[in-house]
Amino acid sequence: MDPECSRLLPALCAVLADPGQPVADDTCLEKLLDWFTAVTEAGSSLLLLQENPCLVELLFHVLKSQDLSSRILSFSLRLAGIFAAQENCFQYLQQGELLPMLFGEVGPLGGAAWTAPAVRSGWIQGLRTLAQHPSALRFLAACGAVDTIFSLQGDPSLFVASAAGQLLVHILDLAMRGPAEGHRSPQACDWPACAQKIVGHIEDSLCSTAVPQVTQALSVLTTAFGHCHGLWTQGLWVRLSPLVARLLEKDPVPASHSLVDLLLSVARSAPSSYRGLWETLAQTLSHLSPTQAGPLALGILKLQDCPQALRTQAFGILLQPLACVLEAAAQAPGPPGLLEGAAGNSMTVDTLLSSKSACVGLLCCALAHLGLLQPLPQRPSPWPQAPLLGAAVTILRLCSGSAAPTSDVGSRLCAILVGCGRVQRAALDFLGALSQGTGPQELVTQVFSVLLEYLVSPESSSMVLKKAFQATLRWLLSSPKTPGCCDLDPHTQLFLRELLPVLQKRLCSPCWEVRDSGLEFLTQMTRHWGGQAGFRQALLASEVPELTKQLLRDPESYVRASAVTATGQLSSWGLCATPAGHECPGAQQESLLVELLHILSTDSEGFPRRAVMQVFTEWLRDGHADVAEDAEQFVAGALQAASRDLDWEVRAQGLELALVFLEQLLGQRGSHCPYAVALPETAPPGVLAQALQVLCRVQLFEFAFRALFDCDRPVAQKSCDLLLFLRAKAAPCGSPQEAGDSPNVASVEATLQRWQAGEQGQPLGYLEPGAVVALLRSVDLEGLRDTLAESSDHVEKSPQSLLQDMLAAVGVLGENEADCY
């Protein structure tokens, strides 16, 4: 500990011990604990206490004082835990009987302060930190802490209850680590008393008829198997698994969620070491209700190595709800076992029909689980792509009311599901996920037709519609290319012809979310297919480009932003609107450019302006024909607008545009990797002079230097990077050019200094290339970059500063010494 901190510590301890001077800020105490943890990790705690007796005094004082706040009490308990984590320091504190007084029954445990959850939490955390050595175990046994921890498992505060469970596991692990070493799953009779006690308690809880008790035991075990990897856990499993299995005999199975968590936790750690685990999992799968078994089935299927039979059983559980739906909606009795081995069983059917919430819950879970499984390498094989597609389509049709099931179950399902947005969203997500696989053409046609039905239907809510657009996009982009032909296949073309009128209508929707998702869909589609003749033809024959352009004036800023992105994308492919419906050259393009510049300089919201800058950057980067025609003017206009913008993201994007322009003039930046050793390549002098002239003309420097002192750090950082890149290109270090040659530099530097001080009113004026080079050299860009790279509180987060802050807050230090940050 540095001497200055040592000097401040007594005063701080006095403040902490004084109930009349409450510490205002909880985070200070947390920071203080972090600091003490760091100090004790670096050196001896014993020494620390001996050198700073005020700390022990504080702990004693806390015990004596009646009216201390619960925060300070909690802090002291945790602090004591930190010190006592080292065995010699533990002994030292024990000599003074401090620890039993803090953690034993005579301490806060029996007092009024115990009612505060913060104190109980501090007590647990203190013990958790303290319990690192055998002496601690003996102490815990002696002071009867374990019983208290048992009772805290049912604490009304969830934080306390959960911490109590974790502490039990920690103690168990500590107790077992010693004897287990070198032995293979020691017999229960060898276990230390402390472990025996905890395991006995878990056993009792598992046999209890009270569900909360069972839940507590299961969650302790879950933590144990998830975090402890000693051999003793195998012994624990042998001892407790019969009790766990017995839970399955109860109806309903108590604490099924926790049971699933436990089994998965065991299975994930080292399944082969736990005897009978697979059988227990199989049993559990068959005993739990369809809704409860879903998460377990998913967990099993995600396991790397697991018996095939169990995987099949688990997969069957996930498929069952969909199998029921397929069966119920079948017009005629179809081929048996559409999803093999997973024909809808009566329990699943009962759940589906029991209530709307049960039906919706089960279907949504099944769809979500299967959707998660779909992209995984360990997903079941063969993957029943076709029946799953069929099921997703059927569910969507039941939800829209367009399916006409003849069976009784089908009709009841239809009545439950019709218009249900949650299931629609889940099914559309799942359908989208299934686009990664293939399917028979007939089914794919059905997929597209149900997607179209949803896109057309006025009853689709905006969220459902968004999902429908996303799923449609995924299916469109995954549709197979016709071999030997680079254009879209005829099915897709046909679909597009039906889709575009729908998109047109959606772009006119009074609901802005719908217009927005329509535009996003259009942008994505154009990005992928802008070059496909079939797509271009269909799009240009529709009103979509014209409508998109009109939406640049939408009253909703999100829609304007999406419209900007969409028109930008359309224009990149030469697909923007023209009165004659032809692909657009010059004149029209210019007007779009003007319109976007207008948005950039006048739009009251940030999103559209950000979108414009992104489009401009993309246009410049991709060499958009009309931008390339007069890139200089384009960049000048864009930078001028961006420099005045109040939104830092627009300014940052302006720098991105400037960087792209620089790269085009001076050549690519080197490797983006900051650790690359390659020296930057200097531009040839002729090119450089010309480029600098251009950069001066577009006033890039004014923009970049102003951004260098931007109050938003990302902008300043970006500008710093840009100027560093420019300096590397234009004025590499050591180049014998005359600095300060130009008469302008001094005044410019003065202006920059004023800017840095926050007075940004004065313009930089026109800069000569020479002056720029000189400036680049004279400004300490590296220094600035390093400063900017530091987090904003780097100066103020030293421990000394923390102590000073805390003292200043209660007025112990003089006003002028306070760190005002």
């Binding site: 006409a404 099931p405 009709s411 009545a415 006025p458 009853e459 009074p510 409508l547 009109q550």
Partner: protein, 658 residues
């Protein structure tokens, strides 16, 4: 209690309820779908319509070709359109005491009933219902009278001939009772019989029942009705809405505890959500106008149009449609727009508060001020000078058979740039369009029906818990086209009773009590005796006086001083004889104690049997049987009066007398 069902149309009901001594007609809807069988009445001579070929039988017989015309495979009657009236034969309508109107759409048949059936009663309706109902009738009369048609077809109605006609003419019901539209004179006379009422106002009908209108949330002044006596309550729910539109919200709480709930006027398009339809309406309108096309919206002059104009008010600026003119053409357009602004007390809370600002409650005032919405009585006159395209036209009639809409259909039907958007749910749009085929203009069907859907009904019924629900038969099964949609029917316990046109329903509850008032002086003379805590009884001797369905117990006239020798009074002076009353008994007989008492009194060999209603005590030796039930005790023994009296006295020991 009986319900006579005079209309088969679930949203245009006409039922008669006989309750206690009153005969109450519930609504008076006019089924106008019959007009779909007729050719449109063009405002301007239409060569297309006048040149349609006459229809002839398969054998070439063309005797009907003057009456029936063929258009794109459909056959239409070339005559003044006629309406299908409520059933008039099922019950003598002159006996109807009152007619309760629930909303302005459900009173369109009123002149037929009040002017032609001998009706002498009163009609009750709220003021907006009457005023807007008048506008609807006025518009209807105007639409039909301004295109006089010389020809009146009747030959086709002959039953033998009708059989030979193609569908749907062949299947049209009761064509012989179809009538032409009424006149303004009949309208005025009918409306003069209306008495205005306010929400929650209690109206006594002959002292027998009380009727009360409640807000139903569907339209300006729309009501549900409570018809109740002291011990029975019938709720009549017709055309109600739980959506937040312009009218006052629906009063659900007052419908609780009904014995019978008659449920009519649910949404006609249960699969279409009004919000989605409004969205669809706006999108299609915008799309058409942006492409340079015109939009035609066939509509009634009141109702949903207010909400549509409000949506458009919010939408047009954002959609860049500010420069597009909106025209509202109806003989009553001006009155409708103005009436809507003055019925503040009948509006939803938001709109009511605007009035105090003061601002017009509906934003269409601003649309009119800024010239974005213009209204005209007809296409003739000023409209033709102002007419600019592309534009949006709201006009009637939604059946497309008469009104200015016919002209626009003829004018714009040939171009695919134009769109007709159907928002009124009363007519099947394909049938409405049939006489305009082939049609190039786009047709969009966005029926906006804000009335209750089946999910809302199910919630409502759970909330108000009526003992019995009565509804049109259409609501008790899924729609025929979607037989699997069991969610599109009323699902309640006990199952709803259904009715159809011309059916008489005996409502499933019996009246058990009648309220009787007791005069104060008579009440004073009572001597109550507490027979158990909280329950006291008293005997009363009085005269029951009944007048105007009110029953009053009055003190009996003092007995006249007995005049010598005259033992019997005249029958008219007969008063109840209070002197020789046997005491009244109360209480119950505890069987075990009774048996013990019997044993104490020397009876032996006693056997007790339990029966469904009580117990039988058998005195086997005495061959006697005592039957003890909740409300009676019988001693059955063979001619042993002594024994009977002994037993009787033992029984009486357990009972209280007063």
């Amino acid at each position: 209690m009986k319900l006579y069902c005079l209309s088969g149309h679930p949203t245009l009901p006409c039922n008669v309820l006989k309750f206690k001594s009153t005969t109450i007609m519930l609504d008076c809807g006019l089924d106008m779908t019959s007009t779909l069988n007729f050719l449109p009445l063009p405002l301007v001579q239409s060569p297309r319509l006048s040149n349609l070929p006459g229809w002839s039988l398969k054998d070439g017989n063309a005797f009907l070709d003057k009456e029936l015309k063929e258009c794109s495979g459909h056959v239409f009657v070339d005559s003044v359109p006629e309406f299908c009236l409520p059933e008039t034969e099922l019950i003598d309508l002159s006996t109807v005491d009152v007619i309760l109107i629930s909303n302005y759409h459900c009173m369109m048949a009123l002149p037929y009933i009040t002017e032609h059936t001998g009706f002498t009663g009163t009609v009750y309706a709220t003021e907006p219902s009457v005023q807007i109902g008048r506008l609807l009738m006025e518009e209807l009369v105007n639409f039909i009278e301004r295109v006089p048609k010389a020809q009146s077809a009747s030959l086709w109605k002959n039953k033998d001939i009708q059989r030979l006609l193609p569908s749907p003419l062949k299947d049209a019901v009761e064509v012989s009772t179809w009538r032409r539209c009424y006149t303004m004179q009949e309208v005025n006379s009918a409306l003069s019989k209306i008495q205005l009422v306010g929400y929650s106002q209690k109206i006594e009908l002959f002292g027998a029942v009380q009727v009360t209108p409640l807000s139903s949330g569907y339209a300006l002044g729309s009501s549900n009705w409570i018809i109740q006596s002291h011990y029975e309550k019938v709720s009549y729910v017709s055309g109600s809405s739980l959506l937040t539109t312009h009218p006052q919200p629906m009063d659900q709480a007052s419908l609780k505890n009904s014995d019978v709930l008659i449920l009519t006027g649910l949404t006609q398009i249960p699969t279409a959500n009004p919000d989605s339809m409004v969205g669809e309406f706006c999108s299609n309108l915008s799309l058409t106008v942006r492409n340079g096309g015109n939009v035609l919206v066939p509509c009634y002059p009141s109702g949903v149009i207010y909400d549509l104009l409000e949506c458009l008010y919010q939408y047009i600026d954002s959609a860049g449609l500010s420069s597009i003119p909106f025209y509202f053409i109806s003989p009553v357009a001006n009155s409708s727009l103005e009436f809507s602004q003055i019925f503040a007390e009948w509006l939803c809370h938001n709109k009511q508060t605007k009035v105090y600002l003061p601002e017009p409650p509906f934003p269409h005032a601003e649309l009119i001020q800024t010239n974005k919405l213009k209204h005209y009585p007809s296409i003739h006159g000023d409209f033709s000078n102002d007419f600019r395209q592309p534009c949006v036209v709201f006009t009637g009639h939604p059946s497309l058979r008469f009104g200015d809409v016919v002209h626009f259909m003829e004018l714009w039907g040939k171009s695919s740039l134009n769109t007709v958007i159907f928002t009124e749910p009363d007519f099947t749009y394909l049938e409405a369009l049939a006489p305009y085929q082939p049609l190039a203009m786009k047709c969009i069907y966005c029926p906006i029906d804000t009335r209750l859907n089946f999910i809302q009904v199910s919630k409502l019924l759970k909330e108000v818990q009526p003992l019995h629900v009565v509804c049109p038969e259409q609501y008790t099964q899924p729609p025929p086209a979607q037989s699997h949609r069991i969610d599109l029917m009323i699902d309640c316990q006990p199952p709803a009773m259904s009715y159809r046109r011309a059916e008489v329903l005996a409502l499933p509850f019996k009246r058990r009590y009648e309220k009787i008032e007791i005069m104060p002086e008579l009440a004073d003379s009572l001597v109550p005796m507490e027979i158990k805590p909280g329950v006291s009884l008293a005997t009363v001797s009085a005269v029951l006086h009944t007048k105007d369905n009110k029953h009053i117990l009055q003190p009996p006239p003092r007995p006249a001083q007995p005049t010598g020798g005259k033992k019997r009074k005249r029958a008219s002076d007969d008063i109840p004889d209070c002197k020789v009353l046997k005491p009244l008994l109360s209480g119950s007989i505890p069987v075990e104690q009774f048996v013990q008492t019997l044993e104490k009194h020397g009876f032996s060999d006693i056997k007790v049997e339990d029966t469904a209603k009580g117990h039988i005590v058998l005195l086997q030796e005495a061959e006697t049987l005592i039957q003890i039930e909740e409300d009676s005790t019988h001693i059955i023994c063979d001619n042993d009066e002594m024994l009977r009296v002994r037993l009787r006295d033992l029984v009486l020991k357990f009972l209280q007398k007063f």
